[in-house]
């Protein structure tokens, strides 16, 4: 039985490697999909002829495509990610700083989503088809249908304009805890909706199992039956969804970060699209997508580890 798990993991890792490979090729090619001379694009709008020529040589832009690609890969793997053509700041440092912020945001939002979502889902399941269940279902439908920026605006209206508790942006100041609350709340509320849904479905299924009736027949307390016996088994698919949401937050908190001017990776990419900072766009997209793919594969593997033991 252990062998089949190892094979599955190996397969997933191969897929991972393959996807990362194709990803790097596509991103590498991005420059060529744009109109204009790649050297000019990569050197920046302020570059002189000499600088453009330097870029051309350094990246080997007059060499055949395959060689260029290999140079690209070698540079990345050796940690030299280039500099921003707008600010000149080394990209690796840029990503390192920004990613930390995005990570903090992703973890905090996941925490909020999970607590809210699991609690709502359990409540809905034990009050199935009654009033509380309907409310939870409506709320989670709203959460799934609501655009991130709308929720952000609503929260800003409530907490920054009406109640003046939390700041709407962190522009111009060092990043403190209060700057992370509104963005985390935004992502957290939105993420709670799918978690609530799957917790509910999973709990309903778990509660209908024979071992719950057995627990009841031996006189277990209701709280123990629900939160120990039913929830434990119900959480398995929920944890998978949590992992997926985490990956999504890491990669896609683009809009949230932009609204709140939060110094994260997503906002970095958007800013660089506007300023046509191609090296940053390339590396940024590559990094973000790789992270997303890696997290997904880890979730896959973890799920396969938890699952066969039960089935």
């Amino acid at each position: 039985m252990l062998g089949s798990i190892a094979i599955y993991i190996a397969k997933r890792l191969i897929t991972l490697f393959f996807i990362l490979l194709v990803l790097s090729i596509i991103i590498f090619f991005m420059i060529y999909m744009l109109p204009g001379d790649p050297a000019v694009l990569l050197a920046g709008p302020e570059a002189t002829q000499a600088e453009i020529q330097m870029v051309r040589e350094r990246l080997g832009l007059d060499k055949p495509l395959l060689e260029q690609y290999l140079i690209f890969i070698r540079k990345i793997l050796s940690g030299n990610l280039g500099e921003s053509i707008i600010t000149g700041y080394p990209i690796s440092k840029l990503i390192y700083e920004r990613f930390q912020n995005t990570l903090k945001l992703a973890v905090f939002s996941l925490f909020i989503s999970s607590i809210l979502g699991i609690f709502a889902g359990v409540t809905a399941a034990i009050n199935r088809n009654k009033f509380l269940d309907q409310i939870v279902m409506v709320l989670s439908l709203t959460g799934v249908s609501m655009p991130v920026f709308l929720l952000a605006i609503i929260l800003i209206q409530i907490f920054s304009v009406w109640f003046k508790i939390f700041p709407a942006t962190s522009v111009g100041t060092a990043l403190e805890f209060r700057h992370i609350i509104l963005p985390a709340l935004t992502l957290g509320l939105i993420g709670a909706a799918p978690i609530a849904r799957i917790t509910r479905t999973s709990m309903i299924e778990s509660l209908s199992q024979d071992y719950i009736t057995t627990a009841k027949s031996f006189g277990f307390h209701k709280r123990i039956i629900i939160y120990k016996y039913a929830l434990r088994n119900a959480l398995i698919p929920v944890v998978t969804v949590m992992g997926l949401i985490f990956g999504y937050n890491l990669a896609g908190a683009v809009i949230t970060e932009t609204i709140f001017a939060y110094p994260g990776l997503g906002r970095l990419i958007v800013d660089s699209i506007f300023s046509r900072d191609y090296p940053v766009i390339q590396i940024g997209l590559l990094f973000i997508t790789s992270t997303f793919v890696i997290v997904n594969i880890i979730v896959d593997i973890l799920y396969s580890l938890i699952n066969p033991k039960i089935r």
């Binding site: 393959f18 996807i19 299924e205 896609g252 958007v270 997209l285 997303f292």
Partner: protein
């Protein structure tokens, strides 16, 4: 009347499905929201006399009143007509984008699933890579390459929905091609082309239809998101995402600038999601415990 037509063209199975659709509560409620959306997006001029592009600066930032039921924005444009015409923008983008994705995607997915072999393998690898991107980032990537603008947004929407339709239709095709009546048709010498069109496509439609409806909702959100960031539809075209962006700047004293587009946006998506869920219940029933 509709029932007679359905039975004549598609047989009694279609009638049964139609009846189930009529009874499903999700679809009924969803359709109400959708109906509103469709009406205002198809006939915006019926509800407002103002030109959504022309603004009267003297009237800017006026709260909702009799002349301007939704108020006016920072350029003095009537918000009601901007919301109505914004519906049309979303409709065009989402419809065209998802239609493109679903037609191409279903076609390729069906062919891939029918013929299998090397072609199938390659297509599935490409699809896997596309699916490896988080939704929004794929659209963002397209925009990064093509630049902003209405048609580029449609392209981005089509692009990021495409792989899912390939996968779904391929799955259905794989299942259906094993069915007896397909084997029979093959044995009778029917051509591949006609088999695909007569047997496989019609029967793989249900999951595609459900997915189509659900993706419309997600696509409207993505398009609005891109416009919100300034990377989608460009001003002065009326678009809900754009309007929310503009509203953000004037949040503290003109909340009506975001409330109305926000309400319509979320109602439309809820309508689509409800309808999609309802269709899913009807067309793909799961066995209840």
């Amino acid at each position: 009347m509709i029932e007679g037509l359905l039975t004549k063209k598609f047989g009694s199975g279609a009638l049964y499905t139609w009846r189930k659709i009529k009874r499903n509560r999700n679809i009924k409620v969803g359709f109400i929201f959708l109906g509103i959306f469709l009406i205002i997006s198809l006939f915006p001029w019926a509800f407002s006399v103002y030109d959504p592009y022309k603004g009267d600066l003297k009237e800017s930032f006026s709260p909702p009143s009799f002349e301007h039921p939704f108020g006016t924005d920072y350029l003095g444009r009537d918000l009601l007509s901007r919301v109505l015409w914004g519906a049309r923008t979303s409709l065009i983008i989402a419809m065209l984008g998802v239609l493109l994705a679903s037609t191409l995607g279903t076609l390729i997915g069906t062919i891939s699933g029918y013929y299998k072999g090397k072609l199938d393998y390659i297509i599935m690898r490409v699809v896997d890579v596309m699916l490896a991107f988080p939704d929004f980032l794929l659209a963002l990537f397209i925009i990064a390459v093509t630049g902003p603008g209405l048609w580029n947004v449609i392209l981005a929407i089509a692009f990021y929905n495409f792989p899912q339709f390939v996968r779904i239709s391929r799955g259905s095709t794989l299942a259906i091609r094993e069915m007896d009546y397909v084997e029979a048709a093959k044995a009778l010498g029917e051509k591949d082309f006609s088999i695909i069109f007569k047997y496989i496509l019609p029967n793989s439609l249900s999951p595609v239809i459900v997915h189509f409806t659900l993706r419309l909702g997600a696509s409207i959100l993505t398009a609005a998101g891109l416009s919100f960031l300034g990377l989608g539809v460009q001003p002065p075209t009326p678009d809900w995402g754009l309007m929310l962006n503009e509203a953000l700047t004037y949040l503290s004293f003109a909340p009506y600038m975001w409330v109305f587009p926000g309400i319509f946006l979320i109602m439309t998506v809820i309508g689509l999601n409800l309808t999609g869920d309802g269709l899913n219940d009807v067309l793909n029933p799961r066995v209840r415990e």
